[in-house]
Amino acid sequence: MPTPASTLTQPARATTRIVQLFRRGDHLLWISGGALALAVLLVAGLLLVVVRNALPAFWPFPVTAVDRADGAKLLGVVTATQSAYKGTPAQTQLRVGNRELTNADFIWVPTAQLTNFRTPADAVQIERQENGDFFGFLQRVEVKGLSVADGSAAWEKLLALQPGARALATQAKAIQLDGIGAINAKMQTAKLRLVSAQLRAGKNGAVDPALQATVDADLARLQAEYEKLRAESGALAAQAAETQAVFTTIGGEVKKIPLTAVVRAFRPNAMTTREKLAHYFSRAAEFVYGQPRESNTEGGVFPAIFGTVVMTILMSLVVTPFGVVAAFYLREYARQGLFVRLVRIAINNLAGVPSIVFGVFGLGFFVYFVGGGIDQIFFPEKTSLHLPTFGTGGILWASLTLALLTVPVVIVATEESIAAVPRGAREGSLALGASKFQTILNIVLPASVPGILTGVILAMARGAGEVAPLMITGVVKLAPDLPLDGSFPFVHLDRKFMHLGFHIFDMGFQPPNSEAAKPMVFTTTLLLITLVVLLNLFAIRLRDRLRRKYQASAF
C-alpha cells in the first residue's frame, strides 16, 4: 500500500501481502496470465525447435579432413559432437558419405582419436542422384575414357560439362516417363477393348476376329514404337554417361562418377559467403519445386505440397456447402426438440472421434463400397483384370474422408453465426413479405458468412495436418502423377497423391539412411506449418473483407 497512514491500509503483518493478493482476486489474474504465458511459450518453443533444425539443412558446411588414431584418414562434415558421459568418452559424428564404398554415411568416432583437423580447399562434395553424397578430390575429367582436363583445369571443366550432361539425362528420363508412359496407356486401352468384347460375348463366346486382328495390329505397332523410344532414350543416356569425373577418396581409392549422376558439385572450403548463400537458396528452391530423390530423403517435395493443397481445397469445397446446409436445416427448419438435441450432441461428439476411425470408415465405405460400385458399373473391363479405378485409395476419397472428419467444426461454427444474426434484420425482411427461404438467402446467409468462414478456417487447419486417415484412403510414398495435369480430363480424382504430413512420417521413419533425412524432416515440417498458415491467412483475409462489408454499426 502506498500510504501507510491511510485508514484503508491493512494492519502490517507478515502475511498481509498474500492475504491482500487473494482478497483482491489478483491471484486469478496471475494464474490465468501464467497459463497464457505458458501456452505462448510452448508455441514459440515448438516453432523455435523446428526452425532451428530446418534452417541449416541446406548450408554448405566446411569439409574436414582428419586423421584417426588407427591411421585411417577421414574426409567429411562434422555433424554433431557428444561430451563424455559416465563410461563413454566424448564422441564426434562425421558425415563421410561415399556410401557404396564405406557402407555408412555417418560415423561416430571418439574425439580423442581424432587429430590433425584441416580443411583442404580442393575437397569436393558431390550431391549425387543416387547413393547420397560423395567426398573426395577431383583428379581429371574424361570423355569416352580419354582425359580432357586434369589438374586445376579439371574443376572448371567439370562445372562446364555438368549442366549439359544433366540436361541429356533429364531428356532421356522424359522420353521414358512421357513417351513410354503414353504408349503403355495406349496398349492398356487396346487390351481393355479386347477384354470388354470378351465380357460382352460371355464366357464361352468368341470375340469378333476382325476386332482381335485390329487390336493385335495395334499392339504390334505400339510395341515397335516402344522399342524405338527405348533405344532412343538408352542412346541418350549412354551418350550422357560418357562424360565422367575421376576422383580419389582421402583413402586413395579411385572413383569414377558419370556427370549425369552429379546433381551439384561444390567445394565448401573454397566458397565465398556469397557462393554459399547462392548454394543455399538453390537447394531451398529445389526443395520447394523439385521432385523427391533417394526414397524421398533428398531433392524436393513439390508433389507433396501440391497434393496437400489440392486435397485441402477439395475438402473445403465439399465440407463447406455440406456443413452449411446441415447447420441451416438444424437451426432454421428442424423442429427444436429432443431429436434435434440428440443430433447436435452426436455432431459434437463426432469431432472427438480418433481420426483413424474416420480413415477406416473412408476405406470401408468410400473406397470399397462406393468406389468398388463405381468400378463395377463404369469400368467392368478393368475390374475384371483386377485393375481398380475408383475402388482403391485416391485423392477424392481422402478428401471426402477428411470432409467428414471436419464437418462438425463447420456445422457448429455456422449454427453459432446464424444464431448471432440480429432478430431485427430477420423480422424486417419477413415484414416486407419475404418468404423464410428468401430471408435466409438474402439476410441471414450473408450476415453469417464471416462465422461460416471461421469454421472453414478451423476445418482446413485440422484437415491439412491430418495424416492417419489419409494413409489408408489414398496417400502414397511416391505418386507417379499429380492429381491435376495437362492430360484429359485434367482433374484426376482417382489418382493417389503425396502429402506433406505423410512425407514427414515416411522420411523420418522409413528410409535406409534416416540420419541424412533428419534435416529434411524438419524442413518439411516447417513447410507444412507455413502452408497451413498461408491457407489460413488467405481465408482470414477473405473473412475480414466480408466482415467489414457486413459490419453492423452502433448508432
Binding site: 440480429p422 431485427g424 434484420a425 423480422e427 424486417g428 425482411s429 419477413l430 415484414a431 416486407l432 413479405g433 419475404a434 418468404s435 428468401q438 438474402n442 439476410i443 450473408p446 450476415a447 462489408k549 457486413y550 459490419q551 453492423a552 454499426s553 448508432f555
Partner: protein
C-alpha cells in the same frame, strides 16, 4: 365504443376495402374501417397477453396505441401482419379483418398480407446492404428486376420518407453509415416502397432525438394521406400531435378508444385520465 356487430367472413375472397357504410357501424367520422378486431384473446403459451379486444381502425388515418409497458400494444400490432406467427407456442381466439379479409383463414397468403401491411420497428433495422438495396429489397424479393422501375420506386420512396436530399449522393453506400434518425426514415422508405395499405409503427421514435422525432412525426402527417397508420408510442405528446384516434390499453385490455382529442381532453374512464395526465404508468 361501437357495439360488437356480426362480422362478414369472406373466406378466401381477395383483400378489398369495404365500401363506405357497408352495413357496419362506421366510426364517428364515417371513415370506413381498414382493420377490424373482434373479441381477440391472445396467448403466449399459458400467459394471456390480450383480453377480448375489439376495435376498428379507420382507413387513411393515424391511430395511436398507448398504455403502460407490457400492456400488449406490440402484441396487438404484431397480430395485424401475423408477425406473432414467428413466436413458438402462441394461440388466439377471435378475429381480425384487414380490408375485409379474415387474416386467419387457413389458405391466407401471409406473404401477400405482409406486403399489404408494412411494419416499422422500434429499433431501426436496416439491412447490411446499400441504401438503394434496402429500399429496393421488398420489390426485389417480389421478383422486380427492371432497373428503371426500381430506380423510380427507390427515388419516390426516399422522397416520401423525406430522406432523398440526405441520401441521394450516397445511394450505393452502406445503409449502416446513416445516423439513427436517417436509418429509421430509411426503414419507413423501405416499408412504403412496396405500396402497402397499412403501416404499423412500433415506437418508431423511441431511439431518436427530438429533431429526428419531429421529422418522423411530420412524415406521419404526410403519410396518412395515402396510408392507414397505426403507431405505438409511450410519448403522450406524440400521440396527441400525430394521431386522429387513440386507444388506451391496460393489462391486456382495451380500456378506452376514441378520438384523440376526447382521450386527452375528456376521457370517459378514470384510468385513462390518470394515465394521460401522467399520474400512473
Amino acid at each position: 365504443m361501437p357495439a360488437p356487430v356480426p362480422l362478414p367472413a369472406p373466406l378466401g375472397a381477395p383483400l378489398a376495402t369495404p365500401k363506405p357504410g357497408e352495413g357496419v357501424s362506421a366510426p364517428a367520422d364515417a371513415v370506413p374501417p381498414k382493420i377490424r378486431v373482434h373479441s381477440l384473446d391472445f396467448f403466449y403459451g399459458a400467459k394471456q397477453a390480450l383480453h377480448s379486444v375489439t376495435l376498428d381502425i379507420p382507413a387513411k388515418r393515424a391511430t395511436a396505441f398507448i398504455g403502460p409497458s407490457g400492456c400488449g400494444k406490440s402484441t396487438l400490432l404484431r397480430c395485424f401482419n401475423r408477425m406473432n406467427d414467428l413466436v413458438d407456442g402462441v394461440r388466439h381466439t377471435g378475429r381480425i379483418l384487414v380490408g375485409g379479409q379474415d387474416i386467419h383463414v387457413p389458405n391466407l397468403d401471409v406473404i401477400e398480407l405482409r406486403k399489404r401491411v408494412g411494419m416499422v420497428f422500434q429499433k431501426s433495422n436496416p439491412f447490411p446492404k446499400s441504401i438503394y438495396e434496402n429500399v429496393a429489397y421488398g420489390l426485389r424479393i417480389a421478383g422486380v428486376t427492371h432497373k428503371a422501375a426500381l430506380d423510380n420506386v427507390v427515388e419516390k420512396s426516399l422522397h416520401r420518407a423525406a430522406l432523398w436530399d440526405e441520401a441521394k449522393d450516397r445511394l450505393h453506400e452502406s445503409a449502416l453509415g446513416l445516423s439513427g434518425g436517417q436509418q429509421q426514415r430509411l426503414c419507413i422508405a423501405r416499408a412504403i416502397a412496396v405500396e402497402p395499405d397499412v403501416i404499423l409503427m412500433d415506437e418508431p421514435c423511441s431511439a431518436l432525438d427530438p429533431i429526428a422525432t419531429a421529422k418522423v412525426e411530420d412524415l406521419i402527417h404526410e403519410l396518412k394521406k395515402e396510408f392507414t397508420i397505426v403507431i405505438v408510442t409511450h410519448n403522450m405528446q406524440q400521440a396527441a400531435r400525430c394521431s386522429d384516434r387513440t386507444a388506451f390499453f391496460y393489462l391486456g385490455k382495451l380500456v378506452e378508444y376514441a378520438e384523440t382529442r376526447t382521450i386527452f381532453m375528456n376521457p370517459a374512464n378514470p384510468q385513462t385520465e390518470a394515465y394521460v395526465s401522467g399520474r400512473f404508468g
